[in-house]
Symmetry: C2
């Protein structure tokens, strides 16, 4: 299950959301499913290359990301604006950076590509690989989000 890669991303998510947005998030049980597609309203994707190459994404429903970014900015946001998309990119970039620094300390080196944000009601995300996709559902203070890490086979 590649816990040495998955766990730093789970911890970094919890810590970054706590420190940036004063938000608690509770990870559910990771599951492995090759034909799984996450569906949500805002997604951030970061390609990471190392051994093996992978891709890391988080797909938020509107409720969860609006609550997170509202807390981050200290004002109530009710729409998925460009500002919310940018903040999502910033959050996921910080998570990716933090997780990669943690792995580095253990001798696992990953480089990170540029994060991309996708917005659009009910879009679907699928990673194209014959390798495993590990999905971790998270419960946020409001709504939920799904982290996925997909590995090259």
């Amino acid at each position: 299950m590649r816990a040495e890669i998955i766990n730093p991303f789970i911890s970094a998510t919890i810590e970054v959301l706590k420190s940036m947005a004063y938000t608690d998030s509770i990870p559910g049980k990771p599951f492995l499913k090759n034909d799984y597609s996450a569906t949500g309203d805002v997604t951030s994707i970061v390609g990471i290359t190392g051994e093996p190459d992978a891709t890391f994404s988080i797909t938020f429903d509107s409720e969860s990301i609006l609550c997170i970014v509202s807390k981050m900015f200290g004002e109530t946001l009710t729409e998925l604006t460009q500002e919310v998309a940018d903040a999502t990119g910033e959050i996921v970039n910080m998570i990716s950076g933090k997780a990669r620094r943690e792995m580095d300390k253990k001798g696992i080196h990953y480089d990170g590509a540029i994060p991309t944000i996708i917005t659009g009601q009910g879009h679907e995300i699928k990673h194209i690989s014959e390798g495993p996709v590990i999905a971790i559902p998270f419960q946020a203070e409001k709504g939920s989000f799904t982290m996925e890490i997909c590995f090259k086979s």
Copy 2:
């Protein structure tokens, strides 16, 4: 404008669509815009790491991708099914591989992460970087698509 990186991706796109899907595609003038978001119905994203780290994406409208995948499969497809999403991933993976092999011949080395496919009517793509986003609009036999390459500043 980083022509040594952009041009191999443009050539690879034209060649892969021609050889895999017997489809002509005509690139328009590349443009540089930091606050640009591509909007479309099917997007494939591949993170690539090298000097500098980057992300490569192609965003198709329904018309263009349905025509391309119909020609690839030799049957008329009218809906954005999972099969179409998978084929899009395969096409973009081949483009990324081909472009990276061409760059390698010139001593420019890039690693590629796992491609991700996003489906959802009218979703919007934004790359989160202070570096430049170079967008290249393409005219397909039917419809259009936009290639984007975003670089870390």
